[in-house]
């Protein structure tokens, strides 16, 4: 069964350092999402792509976060500089149908900022 691949699974960094997360969605899924999940809360959308275009980045802290999906396939989420409050699970998801389709999630990248 096809899966959404994410790396790294765990990342520990010091504040003010740069971090990057990578996601490879299920083949053929045009819609890709990055969510942030703080411990004890539900996932919250950071950015949504349709192919290589950003559909929604209204909740992305653009002063420190950036995301790209240059060829409309895999995607990278970057944080620079990392802050203590960025410690969370970063989840990537993809969907075949942007309207009715369920999201398929990767295993997530857990970030700890010291």
């Amino acid at each position: 069964e096809a899966e959404v691949a994410q790396s790294p699974r765990y990342k520990i960094t010091e504040k003010s350092q740069a971090v990057a997360f990578w996601c490879d969605p299920i083949s053929g899924h045009a819609t890709l999402y990055w969510y942030r999940q703080i411990l004890g809360q539900g996932p919250e959308l950071l950015v949504q792509f349709q192919d290589e275009s950003v559909v929604d980045d209204s909740q992305l802290p653009k002063d420190r976060f950036s995301a790209e999906r240059l060829k409309g396939v895999d995607s990278t989420l970057k944080i620079q500089p990392a802050e203590l409050g960025d410690s969370a699970m970063y989840l990537c998801a993809s969907s075949r149908d942007i309207n009715t389709g369920e999201l398929f999630f990767g295993e997530g990248s857990r970030l700890t900022v010291l």
Partner: protein
């Protein structure tokens, strides 16, 4: 604004007993509704969705959910709980009027099934 409420932080059930995890939603239009399950340090797994049609939706692992438009609810149910069902459960909603809308998630309900 769209929102999802899961009023219980935790639900405790004995193995073999029926379980219910509650979810209510608020959207301007008609919703698409979803349930996901999350095991520790893992991503979310899709359980079931309501798009249209029969209000009772059946999903993975014996779970089902009932869409109630008048009560704006989409409660998750299972007739007989298993210890392995213990996990974090998330309800999510998408407003079908927003053609490219993302899913809005509730804060989650921890289900604990004891032997």
């Amino acid at each position: 604004a769209q929102s999802v409420a899961q009023p219980e932080d935790q639900v405790n059930v004995a193995e073999g007993n029926p379980l219910t995890v509650k979810c209510t939603y608020s959207v301007s239009g008609n919703p698409y509704l979803f349930w996901y399950v999350q095991y520790p340090n893992r991503g979310l797994q899709f359980l079931l969705k309501y798009i249209t049609g029969d209000n009772l939706v059946k999903g993975s692992y014996g779970f089902e959910a009932e869409f109630n438009k008048s009560q704006t609810s989409f409660h998750l149910k299972k007739p007989s709980a298993l210890v392995s069902d213990s996990a974090l459960y998330f309800c999510a909603v998408r407003d079908r009027r927003r053609s490219q809308g993302n899913l809005i998630f509730g804060k989650g309900t921890k289900l604990s099934v004891k032997p």
